[in-house]
Structures are given as structure tokens and as C-alpha cells.
Symmetry: C2
Amino acid sequence: MANQKKVQQNTILDIAEALKLSPATISRALNDHPHVKEKTKNDVLKMAAQLGYRRNNMASGLRSNKTHTIGLIVPRISMFFHAEVITTIQNGLQKYGYNLIICQSNDSLDMEKELTEILLSSRVDGLIAACTLGTTDFSHFDKFLQNGTPVVFYDRVPLNEQKATIIKGDDFRGGYIATSHLIETGCKKIAHISGPLTSNLYQDRSAGFVKAMEQHKLSVNENWVFHQELTHANAREAMRKMFEGDVVPNGLFTDNDTSAIAALEFAREKGIDVPGELKIIGYSNDPRTSIITPAITTVEQFPDEVGKKIVEALINSLKNNTNITDERTVPITIPVQLIRRMTT
Amino acid sequence: MANQKKVQQNTILDIAEALKLSPATISRALNDHPHVKEKTKNDVLKMAAQLGYRRNNMASGLRSNKTHTIGLIVPRISMFFHAEVITTIQNGLQKYGYNLIICQSNDSLDMEKELTEILLSSRVDGLIAACTLGTTDFSHFDKFLQNGTPVVFYDRVPLNEQKATIIKGDDFRGGYIATSHLIETGCKKIAHISGPLTSNLYQDRSAGFVKAMEQHKLSVNENWVFHQELTHANAREAMRKMFEGDVVPNGLFTDNDTSAIAALEFAREKGIDVPGELKIIGYSNDPRTSIITPAITTVEQFPDEVGKKIVEALINSLKNNTNITDERTVPITIPVQLIRRMTT
DNA sequence: CAATTATATGAAAACGTTTTCATAAATTCC
DNA sequence: GGAATTTATGAAAACGTTTTCATATAATTG
């Protein structure tokens, strides 16, 4: 038979007993309360270490109404951009003593809703969310704001409304500089593989695309504009459609790097010379873009900066409790940058 | 001035009052306790929904000593293998009603130790850990086992000891098949860029390498064996050293894909023909290996399988509480598979 | 129909902290 | 040197559940 004796965790009462003090004093000492003698604090800290005491966060959280935990909802952690952002967020929050519960919506709205419920039950002190592409109604986040829990949206954010903090890349500019770059390198017949217009991301990038085209007096060929889930397969299919026609594009802007890679592979197979016959530019500066041959020109989003801003904004809201105000918050925009490589 | 009125969360008492029932009954109804009338359950559920009730996990956890939360410690979530494993774990655990707190050690032992403290304070119901490369002493995990919290190690695992569940790839076989493959495709002068021998991973892969060499009566050139952190820069440096000599290797086995990519890029720059003059095989089947030209032969570790086994083992331990036994647990080994591409 | 058992509910304690309120001891002030 | 203030501590309530124990009602049994 196994020895099932479980070691009980020591509590504040054990320390109190050992030192002949009251639990109240122990609690204060551990929290560095000013009304505790230095000597007492030292005694308590020493005894706590000796007994291997560790605070029970549940008891503490229940009483003080603070969990020191932040919830994070993200479509998928394996997406390069998100992985980077998360890493920055986590390292940042840790410095302030906050834990992070990372949840993946798998880009499903239902899952996203369920996750808000779970995080609400966990009584997180704050929430960070990059929404699903299909999230147009953001009301499932209202509950957080209603009870004073700060919310920070990033990447895929609510379009107008909301009292939450909004941090986004400069997608309009991203679309604009990408398209302008294609034009400046000589393309006149430009295609755009974009994501669903339900998301602000692709609305903005598309607007940037159109703006650049207009500015250079180029017309947009609607048969060369795609709004679809940005998968490898979808991008291939789009390429197939475009290149079975008589007139084919000589420039392509894709709203993510996976699509750019798929397009490049398609071109390679069909013997279309890149960048000679077709120039390609992607979005996100995924590590794969610099490794593929030819390396793909893309738009850098600075996930690190995004992560830092998120932490900064959140810590601020947590401290000042300034989240709930009547003023509409102005979105914080992170600049983007063109990374020129071999496909343009 | 902002309207600071915060909406209070409704509690079980609010439901009780609304239905003229006792809190005890409400609790039982919500937890689907058998001794509650169907009608009562329905009433309670309906009222709970109407009041927007959500359980306070802290109160619940404090009383019942269950957090429904699992801790996960991982070197870095942005590593492809880990990102995949985590995704599988998270989706798996969610089905059983468990949350996941994901923590990154950044491959720092101190951080890893700190994280165990944090997760201990959070009173997680279970722990999953992929350790740091430098973790040779695993005693900071003892505290979990001592109080009956199941622990599952994967990838980088303790070598002998421990009452925890251990899930690992078949690294010996991985090293063996990779090396054998190089030999079978004609290499006789084979180099090995490996990780620090403090980790079981690289011990095993190295042993597999040596075994294959011995079996084919090939001698290992110690100048071509590296044990170092598996970074891009280190791999380049190793390549430089090897290829400044008169005799150069014609086969290279690297213990991760980043090193294989670095080696391939080095070869490209120096005009070394791959696979003609040098054959390369990596490890992990990182997406980049299939995208680079020539695509790199590598060893698939099936992160999905690993994730599934982890969930399975953990849920089992949680249910049966069979974690603490006197028998030493036998490590669960996940098979590996050679993915042949263009570099061999 | 009384006795037993099953079913459904309530009262109250418990979980381990934090925090309010009260109070004792030490210090400062006039 | 007594009053006022500051400093340090303790008692007890509170946080929102779950769970034990007790009990009332309904169903079943002989």
C-alpha cells in the first residue's frame, strides 16, 4: 500500500501559534504593513520560511477581492505574432506580481464567450483579449467592465464603442506602405489577398490598399481582391483563380505571411518568376519569411512593442482604477515598418 | 466625474433569497447533487442565469480544496514543439473543466524555482513541467508531490528518481535513426551538433548517435561533436570551426532545427553543396524546415501525441489520486519518425 | 398503519486569509 | 507628570462557497 500521508500546508495560524502572536499580526507582517515592529516582521518572515509557509491565494483573494491574476484570450498561441506578444506580456506582468491565465479561443466565437465566463468565475483582476475574426458583437466583454475589471484589447479590437483600452497596429498604414511599395517597384496590376471584413484588421489594411491605389491612379480589379480566412489552402486557391485568366497580376499583397508563402510556392511550381513577373509582400514578419527562398518582403508589427504597451496600460488601469471613465478611450497605435527582402 | 458604480456580482445568497431556499440547496443544485429535486434544480439554474450568477472560484476552491486549475511550466511558448503541445493540453484539459496557468521559465532555473512557488501559492490541482536545460536537481518539485499534487514531466525530464509521471520522446531512437539515415545515404564523416549534456534529451540523442556510428564501425571525431546551447549563432560558429580544417564532415546531425537551418545557410554561403557535399538532418520538424530550400530532413516528435498523453496521465492521476505510490513510475515514451526531405 | 427507508431541505461550521474595530503600550507634548 | 498622540497588537467579522449534521417530508415496506 502506498503511503498516502499528505503533507499539510502550514497556515498563518501555525506561524501565529509558533510565535505566540495573533493571526492578524502575522498577516500584517507578511504584507509589510507599517504598523508592525521591524523585529516582529523579521521573526514572522523567518518562521514562515522555516515552516515552508506559502500564502493560500484563494483565501487571500476571497477576502481581499484581488486575485493577482490576469486573463488572456487569444485565438491561438502558436501564431508567431501572438507568441511574441504573450511572452512579453507574461514577463512584464510577472514583475508586478501578476499571474497570467492564457486561453485560446481557436478562433471560435463560442469558445471565446465560454472563456469570458470562465475568467469571470476566476475573478481575474484584468483581461487582455485579441478577439476572434468573427467577433463583431463584443458584449460578452461588458461584464468585466461593469464590475470594474480593466480590459485591454489588442490586434483584433472592437471598432468603436467600449470603455476598454485598445492597442492596435497601424493597419491602415501597413496596407498603404505595402501597396505603395509594390507600385513604386513597378507593379500596376496588383492583387490583394485579405481576411474577412468583419475584422478591423482587414478593413484597415484594405482601406490602406485602396488608398495607395487611388493615389497612384490605379484601378482595383475586384477579381483580384479576396476576403477569406487566411489559410495556406485558401491562398493557393486564390492564386489558381487569378492565374488561370488571360490578364494576370504582377503584384500581390497578402494580409498574412502564410498566404504570401503559399503564393510564392504556387509561383515556384508554375514557373512564375518572383520578383520578375510577380512581386509579393506579406504581413507580420513571420520567421518563415526570412528563411524561404526568395525571402519575402513583409510588414513588421513589433509584437514586443505591442506587449509592452499592453502591460503598461493594464498596470496603469489596475493602479489608478481609471478604467471606467466616461471619456471614450483613444486607441493606442503601434507603428509598422516595411521589411524589404527579395520578393519585391 | 466618472460613474464609478460597480456592478456587484450576485452570489449564491441572492439566488437563495430570490427563491426562498437556503444557500446549501442552491449550492447543491448548481453542482448537480443527486439529493435535489429536478424542479428545484431547474428553478435554481433559471434564476442563476437570470441574475447572471457566476461561481466565485476562490470561495469554491477555498472550501473544497480544488482549484480546477493546472499549472504549466515551459521554457518558452514560442518554441514550435511547445506551442503545439500546449495547445493540445489546453484543449484537452478544458473538456474536463480545468484551467491552465501557463508560465515560461525562459530557460532560467531561478525563474523555474520561482514559478513553482507561485503555482504552489495558487494551489494548482496539478502541475505539468518541461524543465530548463540546466535543471539537474528537481527538488523544487517535491513540494507538489508531498502534498499530493500530481506532477507530469515532459520533454526535459528528471533522469531517475521522482514519483511523477514522465512523458518523453524516444530521443535515443531519434538520434539513432537520424544518424543511421545519414550513414545509409553514404556519409562516413559525420558531425553532431548537440545540446548540453545536463539534459536527458541530448544525452539520449547523443547515445543514439554513438550507437549508430558504432554499429556501422564508424569512428566519432570528437572535434565534430558539440555540446552547446542550440542557438543559430552557436551552430554557425560550430560550422565555421569544422569547415576551416582540411578534413571536413559530409554528414551533419543537429539536435534542433534552428541549428540545422543555420548550418544550411552557412553551407549556402560557402558554396558547399547540400546534399551533394554535405547532408544535414535536424530535429523537431519545425515548420521552417519544410519551407527552406532545400527542405531539411528532420525527426518528427509528434507534439500532439505528447500533449494527449499528458492530459490522459494527468486526468488519471487527478481522478484516482494514484500519483503518490511507492512504485517508481515507468516513463511513457512517444515514438519518433524520420521525415526525409531534400538535405539527405 | 406503524416502521423503515429514501428524498429533499436547512442551519451552521468550515476553508485561510484580510480588515475593521478596539485596546494596550510606548512616545510625545505642554 | 498627566493628556494626547502614535505605535503595535489582538478579537472577531467577513469574503462566498461547500459540506456535515440534523430534520422534515414523502415513499415504501411488512
